[in-house]
């Protein structure tokens, strides 16, 4: 029995805003990056659900591209965390004032 698309939209929305809350409320950059991954996954779930509802392949293809870009984003973000930590010995994003001029 197929699940109604509204269920997927609701699940995806809740997951996305949990990720938003993580980015806004946490100060640990690693957990912020993981919250961003959560948001990527919420978007992917929606892509997949709509691809299934319309029987169109494009949604799956773009979900694949989102996974690839998420991998690149995670690598860059973690590199920034590592290099910042190397300079400042600190990972509290409120304390980092490298870009503040």
């Amino acid at each position: 029995m197929p699940v109604d698309i509204g269920n997927y939209i609701a699940l995806s929305t809740v997951m996305f805003f949990i990720g938003v809350g993580g980015v806004l409320l946490r100060r640990n950059p690693l957990i912020m990056l993981m919250s961003i991954e959560l948001m990527f996954n919420a978007a992917n779930l929606l892509f997949m659900a709509f691809a299934r509802a319309w029987l169109a392949n494009a949604g799956q293809v773009f979900a694949f591209l989102v996974i690839t870009v998420a991998a690149a984003e995670a690598a860059i973000g973690l590199a920034i965390v590592v290099s910042t930590f190397r300079d400042e010995k600190n990972v509290d994003v409120d304390e980092i004032r490298l870009m503040r001029g």
Binding site: V14, I18, N28, L38, A56, A58, T68, E73
Partner: protein
């Protein structure tokens, strides 16, 4: 339908755990649970290839990267493992309630009107997952990726290359090791001078 509710509950609970966990390692574990639940959901949505990619790329590559960075950073400094946390204890349930309300509102307003109105392409057929020729099969997906959506695919290759160069520039050695004869001579001379200085 039952599978959807179970998997959705697992996904939401593990997402909450990811965001609220004190230590980043627990966040990684929760995120792994979340990704696994989503992979199973993808199978139920007849996206078999994406389910496998979810496990391999997300759980296999990205989360291992996170674990590596946690291990790398927390080896030198103890407080990092705990991690700073701005979230007060009372905020988490409030956020959960708000999220539940939000999801319900989205479901109530969009739930019924958004289904496709009989415009499904004639070529796409549904069938058991893993069968050739049905919607979402690997052959279908590959053909779409390499013909219709070739340009985004190529742009993704460019993005990945830029990411690799950026990571090497950001996190690589500040002074790259250059194995030349001149450099070796410099190192040898400075070592000799240090020994002489020590002897004085």
């Amino acid at each position: 339908m039952i599978a959807f509710w179970i998997l959705g509950a697992i996904a939401i609970v593990s997402a909450m755990w990811t965001v609220t966990a004190k230590k980043p390692v627990y966040s990684v574990i929760a995120l792994l649970v979340n990704f696994a639940a989503l992979a199973v959901l993808y199978v139920t949505l007849s996206a078999e290839f994406l389910a496998v990619m979810q496990i391999i790329v997300y759980s296999g590559a990205i989360l291992v990267l996170f674990v590596f960075v946690i291990a790398l950073l927390s080896s030198g400094v103890a407080p990092f493992s705990a991690g700073p946390n701005r979230m007060p204890k009372a905020v988490a349930p409030a956020i959960a309630i708000v999220l539940a309300a939000l999801g319900f509102v989205v479901y109530a307003t969009l739930g019924t009107r958004i289904a496709p109105s009989g415009r499904a392409p004639a070529a796409a057929t549904l069938g058991p997952v893993g069968t050739a020729g049905v919607f979402g099969s690997v052959a279908d997906f590959g053909k779409a990726l390499f013909t219709t959506h070739l340009l985004p695919f190529e742009i993704t290759a460019l993005i990945l290359m830029v990411a690799v160069i950026g990571v090497v520039l950001l996190a690589g050695d500040r002074v790259p090791y250059v194995p030349t004869r001149r450099r070796a001579n410099e190192v040898e001379r400075s070592a000799r001078e240090a020994i002489l200085r020590g002897g004085e």
